[in-house]
């Protein structure tokens, strides 16, 4: 069985190169996806994201990715902004509708500390799943100013300045991580390995 990880390239996803590199280090094969038709050539999808919620949704829309993503049944891993846009709505530069895989909103982090939250931080696994296997308590690299607010699909929480926020979600075969596994040393490579080892389409 083939096991190719498609990385959705929708214009603003600047860190594609790093993600490809980390997936290869984890023993996986990658394909950069520039058109929705290419979904047929891969087994799983990674949804990266750098920039704002609004711009990400605009780019996905203008590249024709929104419907194909909603109709897709392959496992998806959303990274950072790619996790945030799995939500119902985002509040960065006005209200923007997200992909709505996970009933959630994305709002600014309100903490008594510097924002963005940048640096390595622990994850506290609340509800373990395949991709977080063997990663309880590991440190991952975070770089974000907004957080996903959800109470039902939480896989892991992380604490920053006495504030706990959602650092990983899972619903069915949709996975999201607020941190950057591609920037998180061996623990990040391990997370990609777990994603590679997931069973494919349901």
């Amino acid at each position: 069985m083939s096991n190719i990880i498609g990385i959705v390239n929708y214009g603003i996803a600047g860190n594609i190169h790093s993600i490809e590199k980390a997936i290869k280090a984890a023993g996986g094969q990658t394909l950069v996806i520039n058109k929705p038709e290419q979904f047929n050539n891969v087994d799983k999808l990674v949804l990266p994201g750098v920039g704002s919620f609004r711009d990400a949704m605009q780019e996905l829309s203008s590249d024709g990715f929104i419907e194909p993503l909603k109709n897709n049944t392959k496992p998806i891993l959303g990274i950072c902004l790619g996790m945030q846009i799995l939500s119902t709505i985002g509040l960065e530069y006005g209200k923007t509708k997200g992909l709505d895989f996970i009933t959630a909103e994305v709002k600014p982090m309100l903490v008594d500390a510097k924002v963005p939250h940048v640096g390595f931080n622990h994850i506290d696994v609340i509800n373990s799943n395949e991709i977080l296997e063997d990663l309880e308590g590991e440190e991952f690299y975070f770089m974000h100013s907004y957080e996903m607010v959800n109470y039902t699909e939480i896989a892991a929480l992380t604490e920053y300045a006495n504030h706990k926020f959602v650092s990983s979600v899972k619903k069915g075969n949709i996975y999201g991580v607020q941190f950057h596994p591609e920037k998180s040393r061996e623990a990040g490579v391990k997370l990609f390995e777990n994603f590679i080892n997931l069973k494919g389409e349901k």
Binding site: I12, G14, V50, P116, V118
Partner: protein, 251 residues
């Protein structure tokens, strides 16, 4: 909150150099080999600053940067001679996670900060500050501490924050390369003034200097160059020392 310990590479392509008070340069290795070494030692990030291309009005040398990015599975910041949105875009494309800008934003067009933040996200835009101390204020310099700008550092950091910068890399023209400690007042003032993360660099001559500036100024990170380059200390040494002194670090 964990303080990030960042390895800083001052690059005069194709070598990492150690500037002595922004003047004489000594070669210490290639960027990719040094980056790999500090990655293996446990650096939280690597910051690559081309210290000559802006001054010589050269273009960015992308090959060396890409080669360095390929060695790392941690965040990688790049700065030096960044002048256009295309420069930002190309640097992200070859593996940079953050791009630092100084000269162009001060001398030509500060609105490049707004544009870059809007396109690439605030967290990806770092403003590099070279502060020179005068009697009762600090002035921003550019081109590796050579050109005066007339801008007050404390006003400029507020301005760049409002324009959407996601991080400040604070250098001191006076303390850089002297290994005699940080400009503590400058560091504290800037950290207190802005809400975005501030990374301090310039002046670490000992482990005590690093501890002192973290305790006094409470920065988000400290970027270390010469202390590492001559193998005086490794990143592990620095982190262990800080941990023993009750300062939280990763790893």
């Amino acid at each position: 909150m964990k303080v990030r310990i960042i390895a800083k590479l001052d690059v005069k392509p194709p070598y990492v150099v150690k500037p002595v008070h922004f003047e004489g340069l000594r070669k210490v290795g290639t960027p990719s080999e040094m980056a790999k070494k500090y990655y293996n030692q446990g650096a939280d990030e690597v910051m690559y600053i081309d210290i000559v291309s802006s001054l010589y009005q050269r273009n960015i040398i992308f090959d060396e940067i890409e080669k360095t990015a390929n060695e790392l599975f941690i965040p990688f910041g790049v700065g030096g001679a960044v002048r256009t949105i295309e420069d930002f875009s190309k640097l992200f494309h070859i593996g940079a996670d953050k791009v630092a800008i100084n000269t162009y934003a001060i001398q030509e067009d500060p609105s490049i900060i707004n544009k870059a933040a809007k396109i690439f996200g605030n967290q990806a835009v770092v403003v590099n500050i070279e502060a020179k101390k005068w009697d009762n204020y600090w002035e921003c310099y550019t081109d590796c501490g050579r050109i005066q700008s007339g801008k007050d550092v404390l006003e400029w950091v507020k301005e760049v924050e409002q324009r959407g910068a996601g991080e400040i890399l604070l250098q001191s023209v006076d303390a850089d390369g002297r290994n005699r400690g940080f400009d503590l007042e400058l560091c504290k003032k800037v950290v207190e003034l802005v809400d975005i993360p501030v990374v301090l660099t310039s002046g670490a001559g000992s482990l005590e200097d690093i501890k002192e500036v973290i305790e006094y100024a409470k920065p988000s990170g400290v970027a270390i160059a010469s202390l590492l380059h001559y193998d005086k200390y490794t990143i592990q040494d620095i982190k262990e020392y800080l941990r023993k002194n009750n300062i939280e670090v990763s790893g």
